[in-house]
Symmetry: C2
Subunit: 233 residues, 2 copies
């Protein structure tokens, strides 16, 4: 709209230009002074516009070099999930509800497309998990690695970013809730499912891998609901 601020308008124009011309990651944008001349605004306005585009993840401004198109990463997704959890108060189980089918798909595709290199990585993580089953802090860290690696093996960058960013925006308190309060028997059940998931991915049984991941998440959700009922909220 014509009522929005000049930097916002400039940002839209620059972005439209990038899309129009099919800009590629790494490509250099015109200098701030040149953009300011082109749009007939001050350099400050252009700078704020670029900062906004940088915040949206489209570009990166680097001192002395210029502004360049940024390769796609999960920063935007991380910002979204952080916003949802920390500022908006979206309940954790709502995120898990959305995450579950994506992780199931992740396991399914990983079983179909995994390479031998992926498998080596996955088995290495499982081996380390086996040794860390009584160390909750390390097991949580390895759990993150495992799910990230499975997503990587899925060969789908959107799924990879989704899985990675969602885990990344969880705070320590929530991770604590996920694992540390469990007893030994419950942790071994969790690990058993991790092993099944990887072995089905190894055997390239897509549907079996998907089912194992689904059970894994169903049990995690059940666990969360139970704990919520106990804590009375």
């Amino acid at each position: 709209m014509s009522t929005s601020s000049i930097p916002a308008q400039i940002a839209d124009l620059i972005l439209a230009d990038l899309i129009q011309t099919g800009a590629k990651p790494g490509q250099l944008l015109p200098a701030e002074a040149r953009l300011a001349a082109k749009f007939v605004v001050s350099r400050s306005a252009v700078r704020e516009a670029l900062k906004q585009l940088a915040g949206q993840g489209y570009v990166e401004v680097v001192n002395g070099r210029g502004t360049l198109v940024r390769p796609l990463d999960d920063a935007q997704l991380t910002a979204y999930f952080t916003h949802a959890l920390a500022l908006q108060g979206v309940p954790f189980h709502a995120l898990m509800e959305a995450r579950k089918p994506v992780e199931v798909q992740s396991a399914r595709l990983a079983a179909q497309r995994r390479t031998d290199e992926h498998l080596v990585e996955l088995r290495g993580i499982i081996r380390r998990m086996q040794r860390s089953i009584s160390n909750a802090e390390e097991y949580v860290s390895l759990d993150r690695e495992l799910h990230n690696q499975i997503a990587l093996a899925s060969g789908n960058i959107i799924i990879t970013h989704f899985v990675h960013s969602l885990r990344g925006s969880l705070n320590e308190q929530t991770l604590h809730l996920l694992y540390r309060r469990r007893n030994r028997q419950q942790l071994e059940r969790v690990h058993q499912l991790h092993e099944i998931i990887v072995s089905e991915i190894a055997a390239q049984n897509a549907e079996a891998a998907a089912r194992a991941m689904e059970i894994h998440f169903s049990e995690a959700l059940t666990f969360l609901v139970e704990r919520k009922a106990i804590s009375g909220r």
Copy 2:
């Protein structure tokens, strides 16, 4: 890091403060001048920091009033998908692969949680679709409405934002590919599945609704693969 720019550091500090204090949407931040004094930097630096946070979707700066915490919306997700499709060249089928399980979950939850009001909306859309089956442009628009409304009925804001933003970042060309090239028989098959999905949601058959949505997407993906094979890329 100490090497990053001052506005970036200020942005991180402000965000950390918002999270720490549990800021709520609509809440007003201190004035730019006050923040500048607090962090001992110029107002320009604070302004760029705020513009970055605005780009990340956390806050909104409004002339004469101040900076306020923004309610969660799908702007970040839209930016991510736009970046992926328009700038990064992520293939369309990769997005569909990620979208499919989310929409299946959306249908499943909608069947479990839909209210009568949701159902009225859904049936209204289906009725309009019935009349527009030969008008590809309008059918595409109604299709978007239908999927959004199903996501709304799922009661999960993450899923709602995901579905809405993914559709929103598709350009005209891609939508064209999705529907306009189909013949009458294919379009009627698509509509038949739309009707089944809604009727299963109406009957609160969660798994049946999920299965119908899954078939819907499988056929769409098959159609895309076929077209790609024909067009030779």
